[in-house]
């Protein structure tokens, strides 16, 4: 447990908190976006915002994979699950996410669809192997962290000649989302959201490395510090960002040296490159259509593409009007800005996607809300 508890030491956190307070220039504000839902969770869980001086504000980003899946894509998964003979295998968090017409995968299951929960892509493959008479569709979501595993099971399915396995691919790419935040009118023109620097994701970066961030650190003059998921990692990364901003630098630095190298995990990258290609455009919840931000199966693997095998069509779906998830995902609003946060919308009865997964900002605020100031902003 040394490699977990060692990064949660309270005395070091207090010391870092003092160091940050001593480092900030009192007359300026520091708006730091944590891109990744894992960081959002850690920040809420350990009350990190409370350990920072008032002029250092953490802005939550779009890095919760469950939160950013657009409703039409989820509707597509439900439609797939209802086809006769189909077994839809999904990561557990997706089951409770509200879709159109108050549906969810969980409700579809209650209505007779064969929806199963998996912790890993490998389980979907195992189901297909064990039940050759079912058409097993893996509902693949997530960032660069889960895409290599999906690529691996597709290659395995081909090696084993599994004709009853396919993938409904919804993988998305981190750099595209960060660029969209930086290009968003709220950030660029309206000045409603300020992002002075980024806390870079741990696991995504373990796969893609730190190199992909170098472009926009330089081009957009925003420092990026890749941080581990433990509280001391996040605190030290904040200290490093403050330092860069004070010095007027905008570089990519790596706090999470135990897990991330500049080139990332080459083997995982090769698997992804073998099986997937970029879609010209992909819809995200909150961010809309983003160019070259999502992956699909290459035509060489068309046999394993559920969208082709089952001719899945997506239709536009209206967002629930009360739900502020789109604005929260863009960093424009906080969960506590939502009028139904914690009243109508709770983890037991989520109205929006941000209340479902532990990485969602609303769920993180709800779970640890004693530590969160009533109103941030």
């Amino acid at each position: 447990m040394r490699y977990i508890n060692g990064f949660r030491d309270g005395r070091a956190a207090t010391a870092l908190s003092r160091l940050i307070a001593a480092a900030v220039e009192p007359e300026r504000d520091y708006h730091l976006m944590e891109f990744c839902g894992g960081h959002t969770h850690a920040i809420s869980r350990y009350g990190i915002q409370d350990l920072l001086p008032p002029n250092v504000r953490l802005v939550h980003g779009p890095g919760c994979p469950v939160c950013v899946l657009a409703t039409p894509r989820l509707d597509g998964a439900i439609e797939l699950a209802r086809r006769p003979g189909v077994t839809l295998v999904s990561y557990g968090d997706m089951l409770r996410v509200p879709a159109s017409r108050r549906l969810s995968l969980l409700k579809a299951r209650a209505g007779g669809a064969d929806v199963r929960m998996a912790y890993s892509a490998a389980e979907a493959l195992a189901i297909a192997t064990a039940e050759p008479r079912r058409q097993v569709v893996f509902f693949a979501i997530g960032f660069e962290t889960t895409a290599p595993a999906t690529a691996h099971v597709i290659l395995e399915a081909r090696r084993r000649g599994l004709g009853n396995f396919s993938v409904y691919c919804n993988h998305v790419l981190t750099p595209a989302a960060i660029l969209s935040i930086l290009d968003a009118p709220e950030v660029r023109d309206l000045g409603r959201v300020r992002v002075d620097g980024f806390i870079g994701p741990s696991h995504v970066s373990a796969v893609i490395g730190s190199r992909p961030y170098e472009y926009f650190a330089e081009e957009y003059r925003r420092p990026v510090v890749i941080a581990g998921f433990e509280p001391l990692d996040v605190m030290l990364a904040i200290r490093m960002l403050v330092e860069q901003l004070n010095q007027g630098r905008a570089c990519v630095e790596n706090e999470f040296t135990r897990g991330v190298v500049r080139d990332g995990n080459r083997k995982a990258q090769q698997l992804v490159a073998e099986v997937f290609e970029m879609r010209p455009s992909f819809e995200w919840r909150g961010l809309g259509q983003l160019p070259y931000s999502g992956l699909r199966l290459k035509s060489a693997y068309a046999d394993f593409d559920a969208e082709r095998r089952f001719d899945v069509r997506t239709r536009p779906a209206p967002e629930n009007k009360a739900c502020q998830c789109p604005a929260i995902i863009r960093g424009v609003k906080n969960p506590t800005d939502c009028p139904i946060f914690g009243t109508v919308c709770t983890p037991r009865n989520p109205i929006g996607s941000c209340m479902v997964s532990a990485e969602g900002a609303c769920a993180a605020y709800y779970k640890y809300r004693r530590r969160v100031p009533a109103k941030a902003g």
């Binding site: 490699y3 912790y119 962290t145 595993a149 001391l232 040296t257 135990r258 995982a268 990485e359």
Partner: protein
């Protein structure tokens, strides 16, 4: 999905499956996405797949730094700033 912690590889079986342990809890993860993992290594696991090995030397360096920061809690911040820059 993202909330993962490093686990220790206890044994490696067929098809890149490994038995791993964290705080006494055992489970099975796939090593198919990484090269050269060996018994005794720590790996970072995400949704059932190891996505990287934990670099223990770097981990120890970070821990030593945090240790030092904690020990010097009472000292004026300036002394520590130098250590960090």
């Amino acid at each position: 999905m993202c909330l993962a912690i490093p686990v220790r590889v206890l044994s490696i079986g067929v098809d890149d499956w490994a038995e791993v342990e964290i705080g006494g809890v055992h489970s099975r993860v796939s090593l198919a996405l990484i090269d050269g993992a060996a018994v005794g290594d720590y790996v970072i696991v995400h949704a059932g797949f190891a996505i990287n090995r934990l670099d223990l030397e770097e981990a120890e360096k970070s821990l030593a730094l945090f240790d030092e920061i904690a020990r010097r809690l009472g000292e004026p911040a300036d002394a520590l700033h130098q250590r960090l820059s």
